[in-house]
């Protein structure tokens, strides 16, 4: 029932310069790897990217950062991405840093028709400067607005032809909310199943949220290999 795309070039070809993208993943885990490679190859520019962080220098969103394809980032963590940090400090890139829970909730709100909500995160910090705050039950909260995107690029382990998605372990992270908040959600999946092969009680993202599916072989690079 859903559109199954056959090439990553094709998948990213409808994403115009200046588009707002949500990109799933936490670190390199759960990122739509091949969609990002294709987007880097295509050179789409002036992108606004909403993602928890920005990959590493040579993988994930780092590929787009290196090519200066990103104009603006909304993220919660710069972390160890040197190029991202350099572009933020030099002002080459506009970065809106948002508490991780606020980022997750703003994306959920965007998909759920909630235009705004209050959260305690950021109260009393520079993030609250000039912002609307309000006291509920004696505690101060900040008003936060929903986020939506033109395209959401998510990565799932399994999909069926109805667009139902299942994620693997901590590769779930931001993907389910982003799938709900994109006007067009493209799911890069490890395996595509026939409808009926996924258990209805195990679906993480119901198919209504997914417009296009593409099967991609994942490298699953490890950022910090830690063993016993």
């Amino acid at each position: 029932m859903k559109q199954i795309l056959l090439s990553f070039q094709d998948a990213v070809s409808r994403i115009p310069d200046g588009a707002t993208l949500m990109v799933g993943g936490f670190g390199l885990v759960g990122i739509p790897e091949q969609l990002l490679v294709a987007l880097a190859d295509r050179g789409t520019r002036n992108l606004t990217v909403i993602s928890n962080n920005c990959g590493v220098d040579d993988w994930g969103l780092g590929l787009l950062l290196r090519n200066k394809q990103i104009k603006r980032v909304i993220a919660s963590y710069v972390g160890e991405n040197k190029e991202f940090e350099r572009q933020v400090l030099s002002g080459e890139i506009e970065a809106e840093l948002v508490p991780q829970g606020t980022l997750a909730e703003r994306i959920r709100a965007g998909g759920a028709g909630i235009p705004a909500f209050y959260t305690p995160a950021g109260v009393g910090t520079p993030l609250a400067d000039g912002r609307e705050t309000r006291v509920f039950g004696g505690k101060e909260y900040i008003l936060e607005h929903a986020l939506t995107a033109d395209f959401s690029l998510v990565r799932a382990a399994r999909a069926d032809r109805m667009g139902n998605l299942i994620y693997n372990k901590t590769a779930r992270n931001f993907n389910p909310m982003m799938a709900t908040a994109g006007k067009v959600t493209i799911a890069e999946v490890e395996q595509l199943f026939e409808t009926g092969d996924l258990h209805p009680e195990s679906i993480d993202t119901p198919g209504v949220y997914v417009q296009q599916i593409i099967v991609g072989k994942q490298e699953k690079r490890i950022e910090r290999l830690t063993t016993r």
């Binding site: 936490f26 670190g27 390199l28 885990v29 759960g30 928890n52 962080n53 993220a75 919660s76 963590y77 710069v78 972390g79 940090e85 933020v88 400090l89 970065a95 840093l97 508490p99 991780q100 829970g101 606020t102 980022l103 997750a104 909730e105 994306i107 959920r108 959260t119 305690p120 995160a121 950021g122 109260v123 009393g124 910090t125 520079p126 993030l127 382990a157 693997n168 372990k169 901590t170 590769a171 779930r172 992270n173 931001f174 993907n175 389910p176 909310m177 993480d204 699953k220 690079r221 490890i222 950022e223 910090r224 290999l225 830690t226 063993t227 016993r228």
Partner: protein, 221 residues
């Protein structure tokens, strides 16, 4: 290499005592993550990871690494028996909603009233707040662990933080390589002094005045 390790270990071992049996705990990135290595086997503690895991297990053996299974510090981990996976929205709901008994976080600066700064040095370092700004308001108890002084030997416990805050009046306890200090309504209260340190050492390395606990422990750890 061995000296910094032993300081980190000393802090982590002391911080472990904050974890009580039955607790749900979030350990921040860096030294806080190390605390997990010292959890006494007679306590059942469930570790929460912001990226969507309740029940972090030990690091995997090399043949059991799953690239899709990491902690919030992006290290490969395992899941303990009885773990659950969920989304980042569900994870932050769990944190923000007050369901975590304790968060142990790293700190750059802590003020006399428990303000915490740990995410940015203007013009120099952009680390990002990650989940810390949610944790400081959501966890029932906030313990900050850090070196007592910075690399220049200057206090990191200050009358007022100079760096951008992570949260205002959020810290309950500070554990350093030298002392354990509680943030109380009356001011900072020295409750434990580490081996090899005197009260005067701690006073000299701490900007705000310190109250002395009636049960102050010397050579505590």
């Amino acid at each position: 290499m061995s000296e910094p390790m032993s300081i980190r270990e000393r802090i982590a071992r002391r911080a472990e005592k904050e974890l009580l049996d039955g607790y749900y705990v979030n350990l921040g990135i860096g030294i806080p993550t190390l605390v997990a290595n010292y959890i006494s086997p007679d306590k059942q503690v469930v570790l929460q990871s912001e990226n969507g895991l309740l029940g972090i297990g030990p690091y995997p053996s090399p043949d059991r690494v799953d690239p899709d299974l990491i902690n919030a510090g992006k290290e490969t981990v395992t899941a303990m028996t009885g773990a659950a996976y969920f989304s980042s929205a569900d994870s932050s709901a769990m944190i923000r909603g007050g369901h975590t008994d304790l968060a142990i976080l790293g700190g750059m600066e802590v003020s006399a009233v428990g303000d915490l700064a740990n995410w940015s040095i203007p013009g120099k370092l952009v680390k990002g707040m990650g989940g810390a700004m949610d944790l400081v308001h959501g966890a029932k108890r906030i313990v900050v662990i850090m070196d007592h002084v910075n690399k220049a030997g200057q206090p990191k416990i200050l009358n007022h933080c100079s760096l951008p805050l992570t949260g205002k009046q959020v810290v309950n306890r500070i554990i350093t390589d030298r002392a354990v200090i509680d943030v109380t309504a009356e001011g900072l209260l020295l409750v434990e002094v580490a081996e090899g340190c005197s009260i005067e050492d701690i006073r000299g390395a701490t900007e705000p005045p310190l109250l002395m606990s009636e049960t102050l422990l010397m050579n505590a750890y």
